[in-house]
């Protein structure tokens, strides 16, 4: 298109100027506010803090329930919350499973249903998991139980955050 065909009337030019300046001012005002509101969604997850949970000597081949406390920092509010882990050893390996059912977040229990011994059982929708945490086919959960990030130091098991498998 040549310059001649592309005519901009004085009114159009002024309205473009007005829209440009207005848009700039609106953006300058709204951008910080939008980022402010989006902040929780854009913040990366925090660091893993390890908490001492159990002594290695207490562990058996059978998963055992261990309750422990973690300090949770929720914005301006700091609180202690309890967590649970099902921990067992398999040879030299130690496995710590989260009790949160991967279906809808109820709490699973080891060996709690007579019909399904030696499995993790969720009472909400009959979800079941093997000892390894692997979900059993044809029950509601679609992935294995989460495992805890773990460290073993001087015969003590330290747990951090849960990791999805």
């Amino acid at each position: 298109m040549s310059e001649k065909e592309h005519k901009v009337s004085r009114r159009q030019f002024l309205s473009y100027c007005l829209m440009g300046v207005g848009g700039f001012m609106a953006a300058a005002a709204v951008t910080p506010m939008a980022r402010f509101a989006l902040d929780p969604a854009l913040e990366a997850g925090g660091e893993s803090d390890y908490v001492s949970v159990a002594s290695v000597d207490d562990l058996t081949e059978e998963p055992k329930r261990f309750d422990f406390k973690v300090t949770v920092e929720d914005a301006w509010y700091e609180s202690e919350q309890s967590r649970t882990a099902w921990i067992y050893r398999e040879g030299n390996e130690i496995i710590a499973l989260s009790p949160v059912c991967t279906h809808l977040g109820c709490t699973v229990n080891w060996d709690a249903n007579e019909d399904h011994p030696n499995q993790f059982y969720c009472p909400c929708h009959h979800g079941r998991f093997e000892k390894s945490g692997k979900n059993i086919a044809n029950t509601p959960p679609t992935r294995p139980l989460d495992v805890y990030d773990m460290e073993v130091r001087d015969g003590t098991v330290y747990l951090g955050r849960t990791i999805q498998r």
Binding site: P32, M33, R35, A75
Partner: protein, 223 residues
């Protein structure tokens, strides 16, 4: 594309006359700074409204983090200002904007006064303007308490003492504003409710009346 969407809606709802009614009107020469630069004094009303819009927007966003509770209010303000990205900007806009509204409103009032724009037939608009002035002062007074720091607390103590010094109704007015004997938990929730719901509601109604009247009567003539 945008034009097509607009045309589609306009064809069905005939929205053009609505916004033309609001936005399309002559600006007389004596209020246009392009003709007489001194006419910039006519901008103060619009600037007051502009800053008010900023106040409403930034205030809406601040309530995403603020909590009106005597134990957590200060912590939540500290958190939103120092931990949340751009928090210092958003709170800064609300903080400085609050003073700017008063300044702009004062200049707007001076212009109306010295151009005699309050005279017949615009007396009612002056009255509404004065009501807006009081609502703005109320917003400033109630908002000042919300960070719940020493300055906020003692400013409110003094403000409520002033209310108490009023004859006859003083004690009642103070108890009503403070939500009881103590300037504490109930005062804070009360001031918060007044600051974010009651006064802004009143303000929007009054602004609507203010703008309706100026459009109905037109801007006052040249000096």
């Amino acid at each position: 594309m945008l034009q097509k969407i607009y045309d589609w809606i306009d064809e069905r709802l005939d929205i053009t006359p609505m916004w033309r009614d609001i936005a399309d009107h002559e600006v007389p020469e004596h209020v246009n700074p392009a003709h007489h630069f001194s006419a910039f004094v006519y901008c103060f009303g619009g600037l007051t409204f502009f800053v008010t819009v900023i106040q409403i927007l930034s205030g809406m966003f601040l309530t995403m983090y603020y909590v009106p509770d005597i134990i957590h209010a200060y912590e939540s303000v500290y958190f939103l200002q120092n931990e949340v990205t751009h928090g210092v900007i958003v709170r800064g806009m609300h903080h400085w904007g609050a003073s700017l509204v008063i300044v702009m409103m004062f200049l707007h009032t001076l212009r109306v006064f010295f151009t005699g724009s309050y005279k017949k037939p615009r007396e009612l608009n002056w009255v509404v303007g004065v009501l807006i002035f009081f609502v703005m002062l109320g917003l400033g007074f109630t908002g000042y308490l919300l960070p719940w720091d020493m300055k906020a607390y003692f400013a409110t103590v003094v403000g409520l003492e002033i209310a108490e010094s009023a004859p006859v109704i003083g004690g009642f007015a103070k108890a009503l504003l403070a939500g009881g004997e103590i300037i504490g938990a109930q005062t804070l929730t009360r001031f918060f409710a007044i600051h974010v719901f009651f006064l802004p509601g009143a303000l929007l109604g009054l602004l609507g009346a203010h703008f309706y009247m100026i459009r109905k009567q037109g801007i006052s003539g040249p000096l």
